[in-house]
Amino acid sequence: MGRRLKQLTKRNETYVSLVVLALCLLIEVRSGQFFTANNLVDIASAMVVPGLFAVGTFMVIVSGGIDVSFPALASLTSYATTKMLLDAGYTGGVWLPILISMAMGALLGAFNGIFIGLLGLPAMIVTLGSSSVFKGVMQGALGSVQLAVIPPGMRAFGTSSLFTATNPVSGLTSRMPVGFLALVAILLLSFFIMRYTFFGRGIYAIGGNEASAHRAGFNTKRTKFLLYVFVGMVASLAGLIRTCMMQQNHPTNMLGMEMNIIAGVVLGGTAISGGAGSLTGCMLGTLLIVIVENSMILIGIPTIWKSVFVGALIIIGTGVSAYQVVRANRVRSTRRLTGESKA
């Protein structure tokens, strides 16, 4: 028991969950509204899209890369899908839109994958460039405008709910969207991939040391290429679900989300240099960001303070874990009398 506890204190997830818990309690004490059924369902529903994005971002960061193009990718695929089906007068179910947008997502992901995986160019610069290209295609070539109507099948999917939670005091109700199942499914799938498949272990190996992974027999080029294809598909799924849940398609309002998502993933203990991190931590970090973004109003902090808190959270969160590494290295280096190791 003691050893297990000691192991727990070494894990980043423990600290993040403590912070999340403390924040929840603080909000609960200040407002008495946090642990109500409808608020919890609201948070779960607000988690769907960031959660999906975070899974993709997590996998990319573990592989030692970084992706800042996923909001542009998701905006482009969800806009193109919605527009196409609207023009065709599509009235069927939600499966076709999901298939179409995920196919497009795979294609655009492959675009990233060719540059990053096959040519080995730096991921940060490539995805900055490709996000600019995706935006240009959406706003220039497709001439995107806000779509106030979406096909009925998508609308039905967005409004249908698993169950409805009611707050006994205020009488406010919140729906648990069916889209939440998509998050659960993708989480299970990526958990399986990352833990039990050769592909997933390859992602960790490449993030740890690409040259060693290559020598050990991983096909690093193919793994990275497929990774970006997969991430493109997950991101486009998130984009489509967001469109369904909002009942409209606003082409630009996802842009700019990338930084908060990356922050959440890194807060959850994923090493920005790659090779280490867990899905649990990634979800906890994202949950932290979502709670800060959604529940500040409950403790009486006006929404204009949101950016201040998110920014401070990024600096403090990453600062604490970075400083721990510095201290660990300092102890080790004074012991061995060797030089620094670059974080």
Partner: protein, 344 residues
């Protein structure tokens, strides 16, 4: 270098960086194209003056980003710094204006520039401390700072624009020296010359190139890495703040969300200009050329009304990817080194 050229003076083309050469080529092609299609509307004095007053905004920020990238880091906070500085200085300017009908005191504008640069320097030092002492990866530290500063700007202004500035400020910064050279261009040129001097004529420049090439070697050579990083981010803060002051004059107002696209643009021009994202490499001439080229491309495209201005972002992204692919095929080996060193 000395042994390579022993007994022979290097020719012009071997001295000029290949990135610079390529940018000059693209620029020449674009200028010829504009001359053939829209000569009367592109080749006018006023058009060039307009361009020269527009690019210093993000040009100034890019200079700082370039220095950070040479050290192997990156600065994503210039827009946050610029907006916060612009907002604070706008408030100062409003305070300095006499209530009844008077004009701005003569010392106001130099004071605003000094104060703005000081604020930028402080914020830059903060970035530098986070990167060097706390050891947060630069991309996250500056990202967090950017979010934080934007947040502070929103809180100060309540999200609204600060306007109603004394007219003298915008008039001074927007004026043209000798009715020819825009003041913004002069500010940019001064900063560019200072950065050139720092990089090529001082030990500071040599040191940051070494730091970017190999931080461990730099440490063992007795360099104070932390102090170098802090001064680099400080300079970046100053250039960003000056960019903010130019922006304040160009818009004649300040707001927390102005210039959102500039973060991407800064990184774009710096990489286009031949600065290696892993550090240790890059010249000011390439970056300045890239800045001017981007402005010319954008202005040129605007001369074709049938082309949506949204295509510009498509072209920028495309150009960035194209340049990297060209580099890959012309000089593939270098990227193998990038891959080893670059975390992302």
């Amino acid at each position: 270098m000395m042994t390579k050229y022993a007994g022979k003076k290097p020719g012009f083309f071997s001295r000029v960086d290949q990135h610079v050469l390529r940018l000059l080529l693209v620029m020449a092609v674009w200028m010829v194209f504009m001359a053939l299609t829209r000569a009367s509307r592109f080749y006018t004095l006023i058009n060039f003056q307009t361009m020269a007053s527009q690019f210093p905004e993000f040009g100034l920020m890019s200079l700082g980003v370039m220095l950070c990238m040479i050290t192997g880091g990156i600065d994503l906070s210039p827009v946050g710094v610029a907006n916060l500085t612009a907002i604070l200085m706008a408030l100062v300017l409003k305070q300095l204006t006499p209530a009844v009908g008077g004009s701005l005191p003569i010392y106001a504008i130099p004071l605003v520039f000094l104060l703005g640069a000081a604020i930028g320097a402080c914020l830059g030092v903060l970035n530098g401390l986070l990167v060097s002492k706390v050891r947060i990866p630069p991309i996250l530290a500056t990202l967090g700072m950017s979010e934080l500063l934007t947040g502070v700007s929103i809180v100060i202004t309540n999200g609204a624009a600060v306007s109603g500035l004394p007219v003298e400020y915008a008039m001074t910064v927007n004026s043209k020296i000798g009715a020819l050279v825009p003041v913004q261009l002069v500010i940019f040129a001064c900063m560019a010359i200072i950065v050139w001097f720092l990089l090529n004529r001082t030990t500071f420049g040599t040191k940051i190139y070494l730091l970017g090439t190999n931080p461990q070697a730099a440490r063992f050579s007795g360099l104070k890495n932390d102090r170098l990083i802090i001064s680099t981010y400080m300079i970046s803060g100053i250039t960003a703040a000056l960019g903010g002051l130019v922006m304040l004059a160009n818009y004649n107002s300040a707001r927390a969300n102005y210039g959102g696209v500039y973060v991407l643009q800064c990184i774009l021009v710096v990489v286009l200009g031949g600065v290696s994202p892993t550090g240790g490499k890059g010249r000011i001439s390439g970056v300045v050329l890239a800045i001017v080229l981007l402005r010319m491309l954008e202005t040129g495209i605007n001369r074709f009304p049938q082309i949506s201005s949204y295509y510009i972002s498509l072209i920028w992204g495309g150009v960035l990817l194209l340049v990297m692919v060209l580099d890959y095929f012309s000089n593939g080996r270098r990227y193998l080194r990038w891959k080893r060193k670059m975390p992302f």
